[in-house]
């Protein structure tokens, strides 16, 4: 077996093992089956073209996600006419405002009342589609970070490599993204009457 054949067999196995993860992330980025398939195929082709430059094969998985993410940024986001959302997390980090307290103070009183005393049953009452709707509502930076960490199990360091940002930014995005996600879920559940809004009671006591 030639070196190229050995490399190809190794690459093929790596793609087989990561196919589902690549498609899951691509679908959440593009929100479209056909575009997600194209994005994965294009990423795999680019990965093969660049595989010779991959020095540490143990980093194959984050390296693949980085290629996929770069393909999405350079091609698909332009096509889908979704403007690049403001990178307010990076701005906040740069300004030294990445503490959780700074984030929660920006939220509504009603949400904060719940956030301070959440009910675990709330999570169980949500449908999978509610959760995905809330994730899809997040800005790209938060959505991608949450998917890579929570769904694909990448470490913060690996996620930082994929996204081309410092690890501290991943940490900050996780905190902000998860809080924004909970606010979106809380809003959906509140609109659907799945949670009892105790905020009115809390407010009247305050007043």
């Amino acid at each position: 077996m030639s070196d190229r054949e050995i490399l190809k067999a190794w690459f093929s196995q790596g793609i087989e093992e990561n196919m589902g993860s690549l498609f899951s992330v691509a679908f959440r980025l593009t929100r479209n089956n056909a575009e997600a398939e194209d994005l994965v195929a294009e990423s795999v082709a680019k990965a093969w073209a660049a595989v010779g430059k991959l020095e540490d094969r143990s980093r194959f998985r984050p390296w693949l996600f980085r290629i996929l993410h770069n393909c999405f940024i350079s091609d698909y986001r332009k096509k889908s006419a979704r403007p690049c959302e403001s990178s307010y997390d990076e701005l906040s980090v740069a300004e030294g405002k990445d503490e959780i307290g700074d984030l929660v103070i920006q939220q509504s009183n009603e949400f904060m009342y719940w956030w301070a005393n959440p009910e675990k049953a709330f999570v169980n009452s949500l449908l999978g589609e509610d959760i995905m709707m809330a994730i899809d509502s997040l800005p790209d930076a938060f959505r991608t970070t949450i998917l890579l960490v929570n769904v694909e199990g990448l470490s913060y360091d690996e996620t930082a490599v994929v996204l081309g940002v410092p690890p501290g930014t991943v940490h900050s995005r996780m905190k902000r993204g998860r809080t924004l996600l909970q606010k979106a879920l809380w809003q959906q559940a509140s609109d659907e009457g799945l949670i009892e809004c105790k905020c009115a009671e809390g407010k009247s006591n305050d007043d």
């Binding site: 498609f23 398939e37 005393n117 959440p118 009910e119 999978g128 905190k175 998860r178």
Partner: protein, 86 residues
């Protein structure tokens, strides 16, 4: 009953600091034994933060289940055909 030692330890980190570290802790990103000890002690003694940690864990599991998609057969075939031609 809260002892003086408990009060001292639980005050090592307040609720804001505990929540600030909670996500990284649940994601396995806190490797400093002292920080882990202080956070776990706080969670054991603070009902609100403990409940939040339960909500966060449950939500992580739900996100993982909800976001994992089956790879379409058309894509599986497309990728295998493409790699065959490399």
């Amino acid at each position: 009953m809260t002892t003086d030692k408990d009060s001292e330890n639980i005050e090592d980190i307040n609720c804001t600091e505990a929540i600030d570290k909670l996500y990284a802790y649940l994601d396995g990103e806190v490797d400093d034994a002292d920080s882990i000890g202080k956070l776990e002690y706080h969670l054991e003694h603070c009902h609100s933060c403990f409940t939040r940690s339960q909500v966060e864990s449950a939500l992580s599991a739900r996100i993982k289940n909800a976001a994992t998609k089956h790879t379409p057969e058309s894509l599986q075939k497309r990728l295998r055909d493409m790699i065959d031609k490399f």
